[in-house]
Amino acid sequence: MTAVPQQAQVVVIGAGIVGNSVVYHLARLGWRNIVQIDKGPLPNPGGSTGHASNFIFPVDHSREITDLTLDSVRQYKDLGVFTECGGFEVARTEARMEELRRRIASALAWGIPAELVTPEQVVEKVPFLDPSVILGAFWSPTVGVVDSLRAGTLMRERAQELDALTVLANAEVTDMTVEDGRIRSVRTTKGDISTDCVVIACGVWSPKLARMAGVHIPLTPAVHQMISVGPLPQLAGTTGEISYPIVRDMDTFCYERQHGSDMEVGSYAHRPILMEPEEIPSIDQARLSPTELPFTDEDFDPQLEQALELMPELLGSADAEIRYAINGLLSLTPDGAPILGESPEVKGVWSAAAVWIKEGPGVGRLLAEWMTHGHSEIDASHSDIARFYPHQRTREHVRARTSEGFNKTYGIVHPSEQWTSDRDVRLAPMHAGEVELGAVFFETAGWERPHWYASNEPLLGEYGDAVMSRQNEWDARWWSPIINAEHLAMRERAGYVDLSAFTIFDVAGKGALDAVQHIAVGQMNVAPGRVVYTPILDERGGFRADLTIMRLAEDRFRVVTGGAHGNVDRKWFIDHLPTEGSAHVADLTSAYTTIGLWGPRARDILGSLTDADISHMGFPFSTCREVELGSLSVLASRISYVGELGWELYVPIEQGARLWELVREAGRPHGAVPVGIGVYGTTGRLEKGYRAYGAELDSERTIVEAGMMRPKVKDADFVGREAYLKQRDNAPETVLCTMTVDDHTSADGSKRYMLGGEPVLSADGAPLTDGHGHHPYVTSAGSAPSLGKHLLMAYLPPEEASVGNKLSVEYFGERYPVTVASCDATSVFDPANERIRS
């Protein structure tokens, strides 16, 4: 029996595809004394890997997930466990055909072969499918199946060959010790191991293990039903792992996967069946394995009928028996993305959870790189465990969102689609007033943010065709021309914006200046009262954030960043504080609310509320100070994300409603209107060429590529400085550009408006490739009402990045001509920034 080491450099809990991949990549990157623990036997300890269908469809609308999948496929191929079989996603409805056209666009954007085919073409490869049931299909020739258990064994063996790994099977972790916010040891049924690093790669059990360390991994075990039917005479002659393409019957949320002479039918159509990790049976209690639960026939019966419709002769055979049927457990998360990275709650506790077979090896590599270098080749910003705010870690939130999300697995999900469950959690102090104004709320990190206001509907008459109405239902879904009307009113008069969703934290203390200098690219050694917009980089010079920092005092800096990514940013700052404790981070998100007031009349409006000198010279751009507005003491910061004269106004949250009313009343005579995030986040921003984190900016992008290079680099050292200096010395591999759409007319004569994610091609439709080997895709899209144009942002190959260059963009199977309007940070609207500095 393997002796339990008393000490480990890292303890990896879990021997499914993720844990095995993590130990292999850690060993490859030089980690030694790795201890891997699983409570089950090897090679199949009884988790979700053991009953996975093991097929991989590479195309996803998410770049991050697709990159992880492609990396995983490469690794599976290296291990010799990948069998290519091709796959069809078949459509029974016209709406699904449209979705498949959108999928083709994503395939083009990520450079993955795919084509739309007719029902007859499907039958050529899948002769037992009834072509009369479908309208067409998405053919993905590089779909394949893997042996994930074999892959795991090989990866463990490779780590063992490096003499880096001790594997403890049949050992259960029963407790973890945390001291001073750091993991210290792991208790197992075979002994204690002291360590300062633990990876939880326990799939559906991850929340239970995390709780032992006081950490939240907000996922839920959920049932995915599948059956295996056979023997099927039509499949009798097949040999090997798989001989027919896999069929995803998208409209019924089912798939059919041939396996020997059997056909496996799996479903994401049934009611959400959720469990708590503590309710999962032990290995001894389980009938098959802990994650293969008793099948509930009645939930699957509708899918049987649908599967029979698609493959009537094959599955209708009286000899074809349902030989295996399970309610298999898999992991669901509130937003559908994996949960990766170091927990924000306890140092040294890492999560590698909610990962499908198709991403397993890629996630292993990503996490190992992250643990080793502090960053990974593939950006993980949408999967970072730190993205969850406390309310998003609760069981109730996880239950609500996963219940809603389960049936979206094969669903047609609009890029702006809003959740309906567990809303109204974080409400701005002026929320009631916004409701009265008919605000249409979108959610960010639990905050309810007005996206536009029904009260502004009269503006539609005022601006007429300038609001650029959209005819197509998809283009206009989760959108309103009122957004563009609000935009025009703001540019013409003024608008005020609820920015309560900002994440706000102070870096304070004797060492505060050194701390922010070390973290930020921008020069932070500025006079108190200065506001600095700055990128935040990792060591390799990739974006970790972009945000503003106000120097409020010699020893106090206030950081303001977007709510969506704010929790991750806060963790980044905390992790990079001086170790000797001379600076600390204090979260003030719930202490302050923010109202933005912008537009040519902003100074008149603010001036009617205060005696303070707010003239251009008296209150210059990029500065902040306390001003009295009526009886409120307000921190005003003269900056803008929409390219207008104006201020962000910060007050204690309980005074937010009062400030909202003050601004509203003062704005009325000037024709100011409430303006939603549709303007703030899209139209105002795009006209000004402002980049958004998560869209244009992530850790795979550099300041140089994003066109955000300043003339000088500060002398003080900061994270990523060395890499950044190198980047500045070299020509960029890719260049962020803004493009205008020249003609929106589709084949049927209707006008179409891109929403983001579309591939950018040459004018005649040829694919483009940048110096990274990536193909350009639209990172942000939206109206520019002041220009009467629709704008797109994309990273283009440097040779294509010239103003006036003609290209095209593919949208729902058609190409539209576009022209490069800007190939650096110069904005297409008010390029000289005269408005901001007026």
Binding site: M1, V229, E279, P281, S282, I283, D284, Q285, A286, R287, L293, P294, F295, T296, D297, E298, D301, L304, E305, A307, L308, L315, G316, S317, A318, D319, A320, E321, I322, R323
Partner: protein, 257 residues
């Protein structure tokens, strides 16, 4: 044309560690779900075969909670054509009560003109293991009964049944109507087909309330026996382990030195 009534019981599908409910009165099926005993699966298969061979019918019956419909549907998916649910609180029904309730169903069907020529049951239920219902049912109906039967077929008005006896296979021949208790092993129960499963969804199920006043089984409580102790000793790996294996085989007397 033999009309068969096959009786099944919904029981927890335990395989490894057995959990009891908090009151200790029954087995907790939360992790394992429900099934019928392997004996009953074979009885269902035999019922289907007899009905097919004689052009008769196979009706499946269960006595228990309304959830028992799940087990009826499973039997309907593999060849039975109709179901009877005698809805009752299983805990209050002892074997004598169950036999009496089934006898009532048989009598009522015969009174209505539907003959019940052959009643098939499992030798014993997987959970309670009473070994009583078939014999009591036969007594109540005044019919011959065979137990420990692995296979059977009907020849005109007789049933020919086989079972393993101490000296080999025993073959019985009894006149119909009769009661036969089945022991697993003689036939291979089939899995449902998709079409079978869909037919089962639409098959009629007659829901009845028992007419008998139950006397119960006298169960006090259930107790899980202490786990059998055992340790695994790995003797080695590959060819190097061979001498140790030989030593062990000698030690336990399987081979002589």
């Amino acid at each position: 044309m033999t009309n068969v009534l096959v009786c099944i019981k919904r029981v927890p599908d335990v395989s490894g560690e057995v959990l009891l409910t908090e009151d200790g009165m029954s087995v907790d099926a939360r992790h394992v779900g429900f099934t019928v005993s392997p004996h009953e699966e074979c009885a269902v298969e035999l019922a289907t075969q007899v009905a097919d061979a004689t052009g008769g019918s196979a009706t499946v019956l269960t006595l228990g909670p309304s959830d028992g419909v799940e087990q009826l549907r499973s039997a309907l998916a593999v060849g039975c054509s109709s179901g009877v649910l005698v809805e009752a609180d299983t805990d209050r029904f002892g074997p004598a009560d169950v036999a009496a309730a089934i006898a009532d169903v048989v009598r009522a069907r015969e009174a209505a003109g539907d003959s019940v020529d052959l009643v098939l049951l499992g030798n014993d239920a997987a959970d309670t293991g009473d070994f009583q219902v078939p014999v009591r049912l036969a007594y109540a109906l005044d019919r011959p009964v065979l137990t420990n039967i692995s296979s059977c077929e009907v020849d005109a008005d007789r049933v020919i049944a086989r079972g393993d006896g101490p000296d080999g296979t025993e073959i019985f021949e009894v006149p119909l109507p009769a009661v036969v208790a089945v022991l697993e092993g003689g036939v291979t129960p089939r899995y449902p087909s998709i079409t079978g499963r869909m037919k089962a969804k639409k098959a009629p199920i007659d829901i009845q309330t028992p007419t008998v006043e139950p006397r119960g089984s006298g169960r006090v409580r259930l107790r899980v026996p202490p786990p059998r102790s055992g340790t695994v000793e790995v003797l080695g790996q590959g060819a190097d382990a061979a001498p140790a294996v030989v030593d062990l085989l000698v030690k336990i007397g399987v081979v002589s030195a």
